[in-house]
Amino acid sequence: MGRSSSINAFLIALATGGGALLNFTIPMQGPGTRLTYRIRVIEPASVAPRILASGAVSGPLDTDMRLTLRSDSVEVEALFQITPIGDTVNLGAEFFTKRRVGRSRRGLPVWEDDTYRRVVRLAWNDTARVYPFGSSRRGAWVELILERAFAGGEARPAEEFDIVDTTRDFRLEAVVRPRRAHVVLNLVRGDTVSAPRPIDLIPEEPPRIVQLVLGRRVTTLELSLTRPDPPRSDRERALAIDADVVCLRVVPPDLSEPLGVMCGKLNNVARQLPLPNGDTLAATFAWPGPR
């Protein structure tokens, strides 16, 4: 009896310690945790505030959210990012604002550009209220709730946005820097297309040799995935416009000079590169499946 109770105590301690260890490690594992930004765009009204739009953006823990609100005289674009710290989370927002401040002598609109950053700390599932049009708190505001859940290997971002008032110009986008990209390659010559060759590539990893067969001819290419050049404008940098853009560098195996570089978003749109032998290489970038 004494021996079995000591074994039970040991098992309980092991389970408790393991649970604590699991709690500590799971938030660190990006792919295992799914982050959701839940938002509502609300406008003050005389009787009760009116919901103009609602939606959610979800993805792996490093998912950012890009929110755009436009009116005749103001454009607010903001990129929200989070940094989890235990049970709390740091919410950072990079704002890029354009305000129409008048007209020039020639009658053209004059806009004022402003870029700034805001950071607040909140608990998971708390509500943050974002006043995008200024601290005077006039105009619409955005209610933002950050949620996290365990979600296996789901790495693809998802967006849902329901605009109640369709006269307004609102947009909500998930921004994720892909760790992998699913690339489907085809060789095309006239009406003939080779069998699709799917390949998962990781940005900045060493080049991989791929053989494509069109008719009876085998074409060998060295492929590597890279990130695009750094953004040139402040707006592109602040809003991470090209976060989900990858570039496929195509090099013949016996040469160091590339045949070309194809850049694009992971949106299933084929990009084409003419090869010296007369064939055309078509590459389609997509999000990789869960694994």
Partner: protein, 116 residues
């Protein structure tokens, strides 16, 4: 009925002191002044004002009120001073309220995040 006539005599006094009346008009005025104490007093007042103006112009023994003389140098100086003040005021106003857009402080127009 007497008021308009009295006002007309005052105008005549002014014209007489400026040497703009004919002999006939001057005779009529002298005749009226001999009978009207009020108009005679007004004429004396007008003359005292003219004496004061002549003194302030630096010529108390003048026969007529000297006309003010504007020297070109003084005029240019005052125009330059006025232009300078105008430019300074315009620059100051532009610094304070100038440029397109509202005058609200920048931070008030920027977005904020409040945690509830």
């Amino acid at each position: 009925m007497t008021e308009p006539i009295h006002d007309q005599w005052l105008v005549q006094i002014d014209a007489e002191l400026d040497g703009e009346l004919s002999l006939v008009e001057r005779a009529a005025l002298a005749k009226h002044l001999a009978t009207c104490v009020h108009c005679a007093g007004a004429r004396a007042s007008q003359l005292e004002v003219r004496v004061a103006l002549a003194r302030s112009a630096g010529n108390p023994h003048a026969f007529v009120v000297p006309r003010p003389v504007i020297r070109p140098g003084t005029l240019v100086l005052w125009v330059a001073i006025a232009l300078g003040i105008g430019l300074l005021a315009g620059w100051g106003a532009h610094q304070r309220w100038g440029g397109p857009g509202s005058g609200a402080p920048l931070e008030e127009t920027r977005g904020t995040i409040v945690v509830h």
